[in-house]
Symmetry: C2
Subunit: 388 residues, 2 copies
């Protein structure tokens, strides 16, 4: 099958593209390199050095099983988007191409507006392109578990049957996201559900947990195929950051009491979920939602897991929480859809952490400590981006 | 109190501004005149001729009780928005300033993107301006009953208590809107609820029904104070259109079977609801939602009411529905919040319809028949805007 991976130069887009190519898909990636641009803006870098896209593609052509081609451009440009979809004619479009950091969207007004405009307009253009070119194309859209917030009832997969005053309906699960970024994904989901309803488009919305890990069997083939590993306070995700802190002998920094519980997923499972979703499309007109996560942990539990797994003693430090979020709450997530399609989850284990320790150990000289302390404050409307 | 009416040159913004001024508020209006621009784009006009804003303001200064001033500019321009709010320092911001026609948003990709970008970014700028300048300012935001769609359970006022698998939470009411315009309002509501939560802003979200009527006690003081009356297929609302069709001796055009049931409200009640909301602000941090409608009717019932009230025989014609919507469904709306604040609704009655017949009779030579037939098709991605 033909699969177009939007945002295919990013942390997850790149290894997913390779995973799909290795599984026999005819793959193209699309990117505008804005993710690399954010690094320059924030003055941060991936811990693991990454090659330019063209080098990655050339190396994959040598060592991989199935060449991957690239379309360079911006989804908010409709001409680019239409032309690419018209030319490549994918069976599935996998859409990672959004600004994906909550703190980035909370820096100030400009970053909030940019995030919502970029994400919502890019997705609208993709929806229109599919509606105009071929309504059979399956849109596999990356959302986030953060769209739901932390409700006091179980989190279902996108839809919920509500009985109210003796009557019943199946409705979109009510969401209460925690940043202007998370909100942009909620907006997308509403737009996509509507497009399915009026145009008969088929879509899978994947509400993904926090991803950890850095290696997949494909990126491991050659150092030049490695994907990024972010640990800065804006784009870094919590487990990656903890592993780096442990290796450096620094305390693991927990925001608030650490009672915040979230869903997590291994990077290899992300790639596999995308394959399963793409190869098993929903019916025309169906807006299908999966919760793409495998385990739940509180931040404090994560810190303890990392500390216990590391060979040397590790301290845990509690910082004031820059975000506005509950740090003691109910959290129970239904996530059976992807396992029913065949997902066999990797579970967060000492082994995994140990493999991550190794990667970090190799690159620890590159760590920029100043980039790890949070500066973006949810209650403020204008935050500095560096803490030097 | 000081009240800033965004979109104060529009169909409802203008009479609301005068109603508030007459009630003793110190009022300013803001507008960028884009509503007048849409008329030129679509080649349509208000049935009732309207004066330029400056003339309206001058006449009101002569005949009204309390002068109204104006800020001319675009809310998507943050400098304009911040400066206006900093200078006027309102107690309440009443926000009508959005592209408000579902068919306009469904013309094609460009109009869908424009609608969402304009509405969402304008509202984000207002939220940031309030958060930066004075978090006590009460944002009174116009939403629409169309955000809810037609669920099979009662429509509550913005929030719903959900019991699920033995646990309970109070959650945002799940929405299933019927156009990219309606979706933009859903996006706004989510953004505003979040701003209340993180910044302690207070907001009232008014999910308004379909408005009918054209005169208020203030606009009746002088013909140069009249507000617009739209009847074209893009900006015209259903009751206004039926009254015009009746007066012209044309059949009333019902889309589909006419079983679509909607909430309605008299233009005078709209203005009064805004006053009640503004003068009774919610607590800091509260996202309060009211369903701003007074009665529900099916489109077929409305047509029959108009036909029965008119002095001459009236035919009813059923057209294919250009929209994607259920035309036979449950519809029961809770709308007690505004009556509890003191709203005494005008009900749709023969009297009201007769007063509208009069206005239309006076201006019937201005009717452009071609502008009344629907051309915008929900299932299409590119519709013509005229039916000549």
């Amino acid at each position: 099958m033909r699969t177009l991976v939007l945002g295919g130069d990013g942390y997850l887009g790149w290894p997913t593209a390779l995973h799909l190519a290795a599984a026999g898909h005819d793959v193209a990636v699309a990117d505008n390199f804005v993710r690399r641009q954010y690094d320059h803006e924030l003055g941060v870098q991936s811990l693991v050095p990454i090659e330019p896209l063209q080098v990655r593609l050339d190396v994959w052509q040598e060592v991989g099983s199935n060449p991957v081609r690239a379309y360079i451009g911006d989804l908010t440009d409709p001409e680019y988007t239409y032309e690419m979809i018209r030319e490549f004619r994918p069976d599935a479009v996998v859409h990672f191409a959004e600004q994906r950091a909550a703190p980035y969207s909370m820096i100030d007004r400009k970053h909030a507006v940019y995030t919502q405009q970029n994400n919502v307009v890019g997705t609208l253009n993709v929806l229109y392109a599919i509606a105009e070119i071929d309504r059979d194309i399956h849109l596999v859209k990356l959302g986030t578990m953060g769209e739901y917030g932390t409700p006091n009832i179980d989190i279902e997969e996108g839809w919920i049957e509500i009985t109210h005053k003796g009557r019943t309906d199946r409705m979109l699960y009510p969401k209460k996201p925690g940043s202007f970024y998370h909100l942009s994904k909620v907006h997308d989901s509403h737009n996509i559900e509507f497009a399915c309803r009026i145009w008969g488009i088929r879509s899978t919305d994947l509400n993904q947990g926090v991803v950890y890990g850095q290696q997949t069997p494909q990126t491991a083939l050659d150092d030049r195929l490695l994907t990024r590993l972010d640990y800065d306070h804006v784009f870094g995700t919590v487990l990656n950051r903890f592993v780096i802190q442990a290796v450096l002998g620094h305390p693991l920094t927990v925001y608030g009491s650490g009672g915040q519980t979230r869903g997590f997923i291994d990077i290899r499972d992300t790639a596999e979920c995308i394959r399963l979703a793409a190869e098993n499309p929903p019916e025309p007109g169906e807006f299908r939602v999966f919760n793409q996560m495998t385990e739940s942990f509180s931040v404090a539990e994560l810190a303890k897991t990392v500390a216990d797994a590391y060979s040397k003693p590790v301290e845990i430090e509690y910082l004031e929480n820059p975000r506005v979020e509950a740090d003691s709450h109910y959290y129970n997530v239904v996530h059976t859809g992807l396992p029913e399609l065949g997902l066999e989850p990797h579970l967060l284990s000492d082994t995994l952490i140990e493999s991550m320790f190794e990667i970090v150990e190799r690159h620890k000289d590159r760590v920029d400590l100043a980039s790890m302390r949070p500066t973006v404050q949810w209650r403020s409307t204008s935050s500095p981006i560096r803490n030097d």
